[in-house]
């Protein structure tokens, strides 16, 4: 147990699972050179058959991961940046998400596709996608968006052991954050289990990925105003821990979703809709959404930052909500 970063958590999870199970291998562009530091030492440990540099052909190698999984392997694909999933959408949507079903359960596709959410750092619209919600609309893909190194390690290990395809989205704003990482080789956090990151009684803030630290910061600030915010981290979006979210909202009576993605058809919108449908009777005010503005992300740092969720925006929403109650009670 030692403090380590989110990136190091990924490295450890992969390293441990590759050590444990020969069927696990990893491939992607520039894996060997190890651009983001998640495969340090892997070639020495596992050799170039199990640590494979691919040609730049995301549809090809992600589809190949599907084929390899069908014949008994357990591939991890490092697709680097989530924008590079678009060229592979054919294989992800039509093959990986659907093969088990269309063949009536004959196929099994245990594979993990990792990619990072590379936003907030002046890399412009083509490189800044936070696109997990697109994959939520098609059944057949498990989806995880961890918010800290501890969850990252436990969930990625669970994902590698899962018999279904898992998309792992890694929020690059969390890369350098640290946590104590258990070294128990069977440390696992099951997919589909959310986590209360902070308990509170006045308002539930359901935050995703890199929005979780922002929500925690906001909750801290709100405490100064006497507002007790609960921070709920779904951690995985498919399956979604609906009961955890609903229980929290039924307790606090107020809900804010926070999602680093564009608002329209975001995971945050889905969760808001869930709450409005299933926890309506408990609600004391509107379900507010804090998300990235529905415009592209510009390069210029002068105008990029303000478009994202921030602790200030979250806290302002919470104050607005609680204010609504206070005036009602008055």
């Amino acid at each position: 147990m030692a403090k380590a970063t989110f990136l190091e958590a990924i490295r450890q999870a992969q390293y441990e699972e590759m050590s444990r199970d020969e069927r696990v291998f990893i491939m992607g562009e520039d894996i060997i050179c190890n651009v983001f530091g998640t495969t340090t030492g892997f070639v020495d440990a596992f050799g170039t058959e199990r640590v494979r540099d691919t040609p730049i052909s995301e549809n090809g190698f992600i589809g190949a991961a599907g084929g390899a999984a069908m014949v008994g392997m357990r591939p991890i694909v490092d697709a680097t940046i989530s924008s590079f999933l678009y060229p592979a959408m054919d294989q992800i949507m039509s093959i990986i998400a659907k093969s088990r079903y269309i063949y009536g359960g004959q196929a099994r596709l245990p594979l993990v596709i990792r990619s990072c959410l590379f936003y907030g750092n002046s890399n412009a619209a083509q490189h800044s996608d936070r696109n997990y919600s697109m994959f939520m609309n098609v059944p057949g893909l498990k989806i995880m968006v961890p918010s800290n190194a501890y969850d990252m390690k436990g969930m990625l290990k669970a994902a590698v052991r899962d018999d279904d395809p898992v998309l792992c989205f890694e929020d690059s704003t969390c890369w350098m954050s640290k946590a104590d990482l258990p070294d128990d080789p069977d440390f696992l956090i099951p997919l589909g289990k959310g986590d209360i990151k902070r308990e509170g009684s006045d308002v539930s803030i359901i935050a995703i990925g890199g929005a979780v630290p922002l929500a925690l910061k906001a909750a801290n600030d709100l405490a100064g105003d006497g507002i007790s915010a609960e921070v709920v981290d779904p951690r995985s979006l498919v399956p979604l821990d609906k009961e955890l979210i609903l229980r929290s909202v039924r307790k606090t009576g107020r809900a804010i979703t926070v999602d680093p993605a564009h608002q329209t058809c975001s995971a945050g919108s889905e969760i808001a809709a869930l709450i409005a449908e299933r926890a309506f009777d408990a609600l004391r005010g509107p379900v507010l959404r804090v998300a990235t503005a529905d415009t592209h992300l510009p390069f210029s740092p002068a105008i990029e930052k303000a478009l994202y969720p921030s602790p200030e925006r979250i806290a302002a929403s919470a104050r607005q909500l609680v204010g609504v109650r206070q005036s009602e009670n008055a």
């Binding site: 390899a68 999984a69 093959i95």
Partner: protein, 331 residues
Amino acid sequence: MTDGQNDRSLEKYRRMQRIRQFEDLAEAIHAQGEIPGSLHTYAGQEASGVGACMALNDTDYMVGTHRSHGHPIAKGAKLRPLMAELLGKATGICKGKGGSMHLSDFSVGSLGETSIVGSGVPVAAGAALGSKLQGNGRVALCFFGDGATNEGAFHEGMNLAAVWALPAIFVCENNGYAVSTPASATVPVKDVAERAKAYGMPSIIVDGQDVDAVEAAVSEAVERARTGGGPTLVETKTYRYADHAVNMGRILLDRGGEVDEWRKRDPLTLYRAKLIAGGTAATLLDAIEREVADEVADALQFARDSAWPEQAEAFDDVFVDRLPIPDFITA
């Protein structure tokens, strides 16, 4: 005659007969409304599928297309679950969830027939990669059409197989058309086989109406794949008799006398004549035809007698664990 070669020949004949009779029956019952959805038949291309699959071991893998009935039969699949699938029954090979575009029998290495054009190529490359990593000596064969070679997925899958010298065989069944569009209008080379040059990959062009020739060509490719020599592109020149599909839009294409021309080189007729010329008794072949007729009829009966899937089944096989079933279904 009971020598091995002759057994193989009869098996080829049998499998081609199975495909043809299966397709003829499927077309007829689709017309009667017993098969829902669309139907893309394989009649005319039997020698391509059977020749290629007979070059494989039972444990080798095969990936196919929307034109999915012929490939698994060629690979040795039983007919009952295939026909039941066409009728959407619970006993179908895909439990009624795949249907006509997805007949795939994993138990004979038929790893999936995918209806998105070109999408099987990366999958087959991946299966070959799996074999390579497992060192199990298996190869993966991928069927696709002339039209599919225009897709990026074809390019990427071929390239990956070449770069990694994977034990894969890519079989382009060039039937001259993609839906209504002639290959000459979309494939800017005379032979699809030329496309192998982009990957430094060897290629073979073969008469797709001659089942022995196809088997020989694919055997050469299989040998190369199994011995570490990497992938090969095999182009079988063939033809489909029917329209692209029934019940998938209206395809108003007049192919003139072309179909009749090709029927003169019908793969079953040709092979029957060849076997008889080689000394096989016509009665033996007749018997095979009758046996197959019984098999196909039995498959249909089985399919008809089978139950529909239960509604809850719709929630199985998305994941390994069944999904929760929504209230409006259970209510």
